[in-house]
Symmetry: C2
Subunit: 234 residues, 2 copies
């Protein structure tokens, strides 16, 4: 939709240059359609792009206003660790430190919405780049939401890849936090105890229930980020 995109770009420019200021009502679709020599549906599409970005507030009767305190939305990709390492030109390997059926502890059970003590697959693995620890994962997997899991050999295909291919999710939650490396983190990541580590917790669900929850501890100094690119949205 190049026409809608160019209208969105122009409206965004007017907001950025403060020609249309926060809280102000902008001209309605019909007026903009005349100004831009475009169909109303095209103007509508352009304004929706900006509403999705958080720059405009659209109300059916009250019309469209420049958003007050627009919320910045950022999108990032959660990469497949093997691809990430190989794209950086390094050799990927991984080692499963532990894989066993274990009763799920209370904190994890709460996160998954399962009863405490239910038997899940507990997995601890280290991913390496050129033989150096790249990230450490501690994962709980629910065989009831991932049929075939108990027959899978996660030493060959890693859990990340197995899940991507065999258990697509419908819903996911994640959060970042920072933790001081404990004794085990330090040993497996080959760093010192107390080192600040970036941690990503992520949980996924499908129709059958929770699939997996994972705590990923990145190597010290790791940066996890992306561009937001309002100009690329829509």
């Amino acid at each position: 939709m190049p026409k809608a995109q160019s209208i969105a770009d122009e409206v965004r420019r007017r907001i950025v240059e403060l020609k249309w200021r926060q809280g102000e009502r902008i001209p309605d679709e019909a007026e903009l359609a005349v100004e831009f020599d475009a169909a109303r549906a095209t103007v509508n599409k352009a304004l929706q792009v900006l509403a999705d970005e958080g720059l405009l507030d659209r109300k059916r009767r009250a019309g469209t206003r420049v958003a007050i305190n627009p919320v910045s939305k950022a999108t990032f990709s959660i990469p497949i660790v093997r691809e990430q390492v190989e794209e950086a030109g390094m050799a990927y390997s991984h080692r499963v430190v532990a894989q066993r059926l274990s009763p799920v502890p209370a904190q994890i059970a709460t996160r998954l919405g399962l009863p405490e003590g239910e038997l899940l697959v507990h997995l601890r693995a280290v991913h390496y780049a050129d033989g150096k620890p790249y990230q450490l994962e501690e994962r709980w997997l629910n065989p009831r939401a991932a049929p075939g899991l108990q027959q899978a050999d996660l030493r060959d295909l890693n859990a990340n890849e197995w899940l991507v291919r065999n258990a697509p999710y419908l819903r996911a939650e994640f959060f970042f936090s920072a933790e001081n490396a404990d004794r085990r983190d330090a040993r497996l990541l080959q760093t010192r105890q107390g080192q600040a580590l970036l941690i990503l917790h992520r949980t996924t669900w499908n129709d059958l229930g929770p699939i997996t929850t994972v705590r990923v501890a990145f190597q010290p100094g790791h940066r996890f980020g992306a561009g937001e690119g309002r100009d690329h949205a829509g």
Copy 2:
């Protein structure tokens, strides 16, 4: 588009239930239009939703296939700190520790694409929730991309809010990392030196150049996250 949404839901269900497996070609638009008793444009819209989610690969001639190694995309909002604190039912306050025109150091200059030593506004501020440190920000602001900045009193309206109202951005980059609190971090966040801190670096640009770059250090234990919600996409 409730019809397109329901078609997208059904196609997503077939992928999640492995009826259509990774790498497989799915029926073409015309066949799906017959099956779902819908217009081809509606089917096209539904498939585009799933392509945007990363579940389908669409190629003009080769048709549509279930994506191999679908990339998970996560979206989160970067909240306005005052609103975040107040929504949690706490009283917000903030204190500007330092605000002065300073020559920009090399590392920050590189990130901004500006010459080292250029004069920018350097700001250090602490945000409090119920009187306890909530986050610490160290910020560089470029007056050339934010006209009016030098006249603004950032002790009253905080920089975050001033920027949101007066300098909308076109492009942004961010990354998360973890750092051990240094002496100043520890003093301003009222924690111990060495405590692991979650750090968010964020830089924004408009047509005039870089607007600002900020290092936000969150209080110890802070979690930053969101739901991904493939089922809500599109």
